[in-house]
């Protein structure tokens, strides 16, 4: 289908339009987005389309006010302009009041590599995950974004939705379903258990194929919802594993890998298995380039992941 080849952002925006036509509570707020954004909604439902200025603190407060009055605001801007710029508004206006506001964050991870560190969202999952009442989701492709957006309408509290680059390889499968908070077992548990979020699922699948060719079986659990983490599924996936590998387009501290470690550590009945947390180091990247070249720099390409796993296995108990 044409939208499946389209970008995750386009899928998200089209779904907002669909939801807005279906449900009068849905309103859209953007902060000076690209020309033409959601023109259809603007034309047909001008009263529920708000293109505000470059004032993120205000537009989150506005969304809170609308949500307190029963509306369901969907917001879009570049990820760090939510999570860095307006953190207090997100924490107090949205999370403290537990309001159904949806933050659709463009350029999750290192999508904006060519634009530099100001535009990277490399600690967004950690920061959003730290907030009570916040739900944090990073889907793997545009098709999965549609399934998430359909579910988002009635999710009770605030929701942080991380967008990828666009043109992301389609790796999700409608047959596996989608529910916020329910991790998706993409490949059955095995000696090496990968746990991924966002577009790292594509790298995980490729890495698993490379390892399988060398006789190393890999399970893959797609934890699109980083918070609340599907703890039962994570523990079940980790239980039979010799090695757990977490994969995220994010700093190694505070994101999915940390969440998985916390989840495993909180189960006193089982020892924590050997665990490899793959992600970005605790530093602002010093290079430009592209998302792909940054993956290469930080060892997040499939072949590099497979190599890390192969190099780690012999040292395991």
């Amino acid at each position: 289908m044409p939208w499946e080849a389209a970008t995750m952002r386009k899928a998200a925006l089209e779904m907002i339009e669909t939801l807005a036509r279906r449900d009068p509570r849905v309103v859209f707020l953007g902060s000076d987005l690209g020309a033409g954004t959601l023109d259809g909604l603007r034309r047909d439902r001008p009263d529920r389309f708000f293109m505000e200025g470059i004032n993120e603190a205000n537009f989150i407060g506005m969304a809170a006010g609308l949500a307190m009055e029963g509306f369901i605001p969907y917001l879009n801007t570049i990820a760090p302009f939510f999570t860095r710029r307006a953190l207090e508004q997100i924490a107090v206006d949205l999370c403290l009041h537990n309001l159904p506001v949806r933050l659709i964050a463009s350029g999750g991870g290192v999508v904006y590599a060519p634009l530099g560190a100001t535009h990277l969202a490399i600690e967004d999952l950690a920061v959003m995950r730290a907030l009570p009442n916040m739900t944090v989701v990073a889907v793997s492709d545009a098709a999965e974004m549609r399934r998430l957006m359909a579910e988002s309408l009635d999710w009770p509290g605030p929701l942080y939705i991380r967008l990828a680059k666009g043109g992301d390889k389609e790796v999700s499968d409608a047959a596996r379903g989608f529910a916020i908070g329910k991790a998706i077992p993409v490949r059955p548990p095995a000696a090496v258990q990968m746990i991924t979020t966002g577009v790292m699922l594509a790298q995980a699948l490729e890495a698993a194929d490379l390892l399988a060719a060398q006789g190393v079986a890999c399970g893959i659990l797609h934890a699109h919802t980083v918070k609340p983490l599907d703890e039962a599924m994570v523990r079940a996936a980790a239980a039979p594993a010799r090695l757990v590998v977490t994969l995220e387009e994010h700093l190694r501290n505070g994101g999915l890998g940390s969440a998985v470690l916390e989840c495993l550590a909180d189960d006193p009945t089982r020892p924590i298995p050997p665990l490899l947390r793959l992600g970005l180091p605790d530093a602002f990247p010093k290079e430009y380039g592209s998302q792909d070249s940054m993956f290469q720099t930080f060892g997040l390409k499939a072949a590099q992941i497979a190599e890390r796993v192969r190099a780690t296995l012999p040292g395991l108990p």
Binding site: V27, D47, R48, F50, E52, G53, N55, A57, N58, F59, I60, G61, M62, A63, A64, G65, L66, A67, M68, E69, G70, F71, E88, Q89, V92, D93, L96, H97
Partner: protein, 284 residues
């Protein structure tokens, strides 16, 4: 000091019996908690009294009545003044005032919308109320409802950039159902606003953001009533009301003194001095 005529009038105007009664309820609250923001509570009192007595539509027995006017105390640290009015109107029992800041109280040092009937938004971090008010005013317009949104801010609070982001949005959306009131007591935590962060020309700032602006003696009940019952000031524009007030109004030893902004430990002698200045304890 800017605006000497307004300031001098605010200083000079005597308090009537209701003003002193509401202040004694505030002292009851301060006594119960042993602490609190005193200066702001007292500078705010007449603004809130007139809003609750004469201006806003609400139903204490039905706090979520859809047609109520919305009220946000954006300077959440002035909450004792709101608690007093909520008790006076019957949203909460008067006895709740004495539990102020205690472990399981509903009334804390900043207002919590999750706990207190009649509180629309939890505030305390400054600069949040006006953006939320913009959203509420838009919601009323979207629904075709007539309710108005009143947001009370502190003068120091308007140092926050988010206030002016919201002011831009309110002007852009021509929210004539939005009323921003500033408790301009001219003292912030460290000292005079004129020294810490001068906001003058203050009225001009609001005008420049497309608000219709009025200035008023914030302790003159008749003047506040006359002004606030004749809103909006202009069709198609949000309203800003700059209320010239005296921090600590009603307590001669606290008026205009930065060290009475907040007290984290109030002595019995200080409490008695406050009651004495306000006509003595109520024996109800």
């Amino acid at each position: 000091m800017s605006h000497p005529p307004f300031h001098n009038a605010a200083q000079a105007i005597p308090l009537d019996a209701r003003a002193r009664f509401l202040r004694r309820l505030a002292v009851e609250t301060l006594e119960g908690g042993g602490r609190g923001h005193i200066g702001s509570t007292l500078s705010l009192m007449e603004i809130l009294r007139v809003l609750y007595d004469d201006v806003m539509r609400f139903r204490p027995e039905e706090p979520a009545w859809p047609d109520r006017d919305r009220f946000i105390l954006s300077k959440g640290h002035g909450c004792i003044a709101q608690y007093v009015l909520l008790a006076d109107k019957g949203f909460i029992p008067r006895a709740a005032l004495r539990d102020f800041c205690r472990q399981h109280a509903i009334l804390g040092g900043h207002p919590d919308a999750n706990k207190i009937p009649g509180v629309e938004a939890s505030t305390g971090a400054l600069g949040h109320g006006l953006p939320i008010g913009v959203g509420m005013a838009l919601a009323a317009r979207l629904r075709g409802q007539a309710q108005r949104v009143f947001v009370v801010m502190g003068d120091g609070e308007t140092n926050e950039g988010s206030v002016w982001e919201a002011a831009m949005a309110a002007g852009k959306h021509r929210l004539s159902n939005l009323v921003a009131l500033v408790d301009y007591n001219k003292l912030q935590s460290y000292g005079p606003t004129a020294e810490v962060q001068d906001m003058e020309p203050f009225a001009d700032k609001w005008r420049a953001f497309n608000f219709a602006v009025a200035e008023v003696n914030g302790h003159d009940v008749a003047a506040l009533r006359a002004l606030l019952t004749a809103l909006p000031l202009a069709e198609g524009r949000p309203t800003a009301v700059i209320c010239h007030t005296i921090k600590g109004k009603g307590l001669p030893f606290a008026e205009g003194r930065a060290d009475w902004h907040h007290k984290s430990k109030l002595s019995a002698a200080e409490i008695e001095a406050m009651y004495d200045a306000l006509g003595g304890r109520d024996h109800a």
